[in-house]
């Protein structure tokens, strides 16, 4: 399996030009705060994600992981704090602008575009498609250029479907896929946007162990090609096993961060997970 992945990866199947050469710490979050009504969901979160790593963000339910994700990707606007991506302040930017810069997310509950085929889902993702301008798509003299571009994209999309072993589903309506297949589709689609950093919100929730293994293989293969990952997960064991760097959140704050070994030995973490006073 992993051999096949490597082979395809070297043929340049994925993204347009692979991850860009980023700074050592492409994503940096400083003092992020968010309140919903009277509840403080995120309270001064500060952390960084290093290039080419698999960083895990863990914490019990309600720790503020998903809210942090939404703040970083522009879904919510933070009350205070700063998000820096590739040296640029992206705090409060619209989600689509953040995605275009190369910081792309997936959703906790896989959000396939159900009424579209898998192929259409995938074809949507690539950025800077000239045919997205209405006039280029309808004007007789200009449409051939759009068609050429699309023909090339189709090939790239098929290669990516191969990489994720979902090419047999290409013509299916995305709404008819199983939970695991949706997760694969979502990751594949996110990759086609040609991101540098991928934020995966619980990519393994509801995925069977075999598929989980496969997803992990693919994530590791991509990481070796230079992609950076930030995973939200509440399966502690999985994060400890797979990630180089772990960030632990609790009640909106960063409890601790470091290597899995460091985090494991931290008493506060154990207490947070066992529900003790912190």
């Amino acid at each position: 399996m992993s051999e096949g992945v490597e082979e395809r990866a070297t043929t340049g199947a994925l993204g347009a030009d692979g991850p860009a050469d980023l700074a050592a710490e492409p994503l940096r979050v400083d003092g992020l705060e968010k309140q919903f009504g009277g509840i403080t969901a995120v309270d001064g979160a500060t952390f960084g994600v290093e290039r080419g790593t698999l960083t895990g963000l863990i914490g019990p339910n309600g720790a503020g992981k998903s809210t942090t994700f939404n703040l970083v990707t522009g879904v919510h606007r933070p009350d205070a704090g700063q998000v820096t991506f590739a040296g640029e302040d992206i705090t409060g930017m619209d989600p689509h602008r953040i995605a275009r810069k190369g910081l792309v997310r997936t959703f906790q509950i896989a959000r396939e575009l159900g009424g579209m085929t898998v192929m259409e889902n995938m074809m949507l993702a690539p950025q800077r498609q000239s045919g997205e301008a209405l006039w280029r798509s309808v004007t007789p003299g200009l449409r051939p250029r759009v068609r050429r571009e699309e023909s090339d994209l189709v090939e790239q999309v098929w290669d990516t479907l191969d990489f994720f072993d979902i090419e047999h589903l290409a013509e299916e309506e995305a709404g008819g896929l199983s939970g695991g297949q949706r997760k694969l589709l979502e990751l594949a689609r996110a990759l086609l946007t040609d991101p540098d950093v991928l934020l995966l919100d619980e990519p393994f929730a509801g995925v069977n162990p075999t598929l989980e293994r496969r997803l992990l293989d693919q994530i590791h293969a991509l990481r070796e090609r230079g992609y950076t990952f930030l995973l939200v997960e509440h399966d502690m064991d999985l994060i400890m096993e797979q990630c180089e760097h772990v960030i632990v959140m609790h009640q909106g704050r960063i409890l601790t961060q470091g290597s899995p070994a460091e985090v494991r030995s931290n008493e506060a973490v154990v207490e947070a997970y066992l529900g003790g006073e912190v």
């Binding site: 879904v75 959000r111 045919g131 699309e150 689609r189």
Partner: protein, 446 residues
């Protein structure tokens, strides 16, 4: 439809076959009804011309609404407002200057050519669409619905208001005419078109030819018939434009917005821009239909543009199946022929078979014999006589049955793939297909 070949071509032709079959069926039905009613040649030609007109306008409106609802998921229930803005703007621009000629009109226009007025009408409808869209598109879909229907009523009340009955613009006295409406005293658009194309001679020949069959005033019949055919050309134009728009990366983003706007945003698509573009394009087309529909009518009054017209368009779209352009055309045709025009023909047919002129004038006398003597005839006569009022009930029943039995409409189940090229894997050695073939590409190939 350009010349097509191969599998893709055959499927596109299948779509064309659906539409032609629908038209043929409608014509057969109307000709049969006309013969049964004892129409002469003039009557037959007229009934076909009138039904062509309505089939065409509803097909166009359903196509435009399909761009909003079927593709982008924008819940626009203010269709009629955009139509009204289209025709009123056109009238304002193209009506002759006040005092020129022998017109009895109370207010004039800018006196510009008809085509300038048509473009102005589309532009005004698109601009109104932008104004409505800017605040509303950021809200949830149902708020857009509220804003659009409110807008269409605001438009109607503005047209009714005395304030705008007459005002000065570029030194001309123009106006919206208030409650009494506007007289469209510009040159007949058809005559203008024939004149521009330099086809007066040929047209006169055609009128002469028809004159051999229709004795009195053949010109009126020919005008109506040719205008209907012209509208069918417009339907083809709408279809061509919207099919290309839909089967493209642009259309793909619209579909993604319909399915899940947040996902489209997370994939780097500026969803607000796409929604505004889609909305404005659809509104411009609705404005154009407003112009095409009411331009040859001689006069317009504000109360024509009540929300019921909007709901007619929705029924047409639901019959055809939201999401499918071909379905929209079929739905528009079926709605216009059977639900919009059909009941009147039915009434005339019954009237011819049994004289219903002595039908009871109100509900009481109609029901009393049924309950008292068990005589259903007065009640049935009353029902047929009131078909105009019952038309809306009939439409409601059709809508309920459709929602229950076939919510996807005639063709809504069929996905029209949003891409300019087939999304199948390229077989080694196969070259790019020529442009003409792929523009006809269609999702039915699966």
């Amino acid at each position: 439809m350009s010349t097509t070949s191969g599998l893709v071509g055959r499927i596109a032709d299948a779509d064309l076959t659906y539409v032609l079959a629908m038209l043929a069926g409608v014509y057969a039905l109307y000709l049969a009804a006309g013969l049964a009613l004892g129409f002469d040649a003039r009557g037959l030609l007229n009934s076909v011309a009138v039904v062509t007109f309505y089939v065409a306008v509803f097909a166009m409106l359903a196509l435009a609404l399909n761009l909003h609802w079927g593709y982008t998921g924008l819940f626009n229930i203010g269709v009629v407002g955009f139509m009204a803005v289209g025709i009123y703007t056109m009238a304002l621009v193209s009506k002759p200057v006040l005092g020129s000629g022998g017109s009895a009109a109370q207010v004039g226009g800018l006196g510009l050519p008809i085509w300038v007025g048509m473009i102005a009408g589309m532009a005004a409808a698109a601009l109104l669409g932008l104004v409505v869209a800017l605040p509303a598109l950021r809200l949830r879909a149902d708020y857009l619905a509220i804003v659009t229907i409110a807008m269409s009523e605001i438009v109607r009340f503005t047209l009714l208001s005395r304030t705008f009955q007459s005002f000065g613009l570029f030194g001309r006295t123009v106006g919206l005419g208030g409650g009494s409406g506007l007289i469209l005293d510009f040159q007949s658009p058809l005559a203008a078109l024939v004149g521009t194309l330099g086809l007066e001679g040929a047209y006169a020949g055609l009128v002469g030819l028809v004159g051999t069959v229709v004795a009195q005033n053949p010109r009126a019949v020919v005008d109506q018939f040719v205008y209907g055919l012209l509208l069918l050309v417009f339907v083809a134009g709408f279809y061509w434009l919207l099919k290309r728009a839909g089967e493209s990366p642009f259309g793909r983003v619209l579909k993604a917005i319909r399915e899940d706007e947040q996902v489209a945003g997370a994939l780097g698509k500026d969803t607000d821009r796409f929604k505004i573009k889609s909305f404005m394009l659809g509104c411009a087309l609705m404005g154009l239909v407003g112009v095409l529909w009411f331009m040859p009518q001689g006069a317009i009054t504000p109360n024509t543009y009540r929300p019921r017209l909007t709901f007619f368009v929705w029924i047409a779209l639901i019959i055809g199946g939201a999401g499918s352009n071909t379905g929209s055309v079929l739905g528009g045709g079926v709605f216009a022929a059977l639900l919009f025009q059909g009941p009147l023909y039915f009434k005339n047919l019954v009237d011819r078979a049994v004289d219903i002129s002595n039908a009871p004038g109100s509900f009481g006398p109609a029901v009393a014999p049924l309950l008292g003597a068990g005589d259903p005839v007065p009640f049935l006569l009353y029902t047929v006589d009131s078909v105009r009022q019952l038309q809306l009930v009939l439409m409601g029943v059709v809508l309920i049955v459709l929602m229950h039995r076939r919510p996807e409409g005639l063709l809504g189940h069929r996905e029209e793939t949003a891409a300019t090229v087939p999304l199948t894997r390229r077989v080694a050695g196969e070259d790019d297909e020529p442009e003409s073939q792929a523009t006809a590409a269609d999702g039915g190939q699966r």
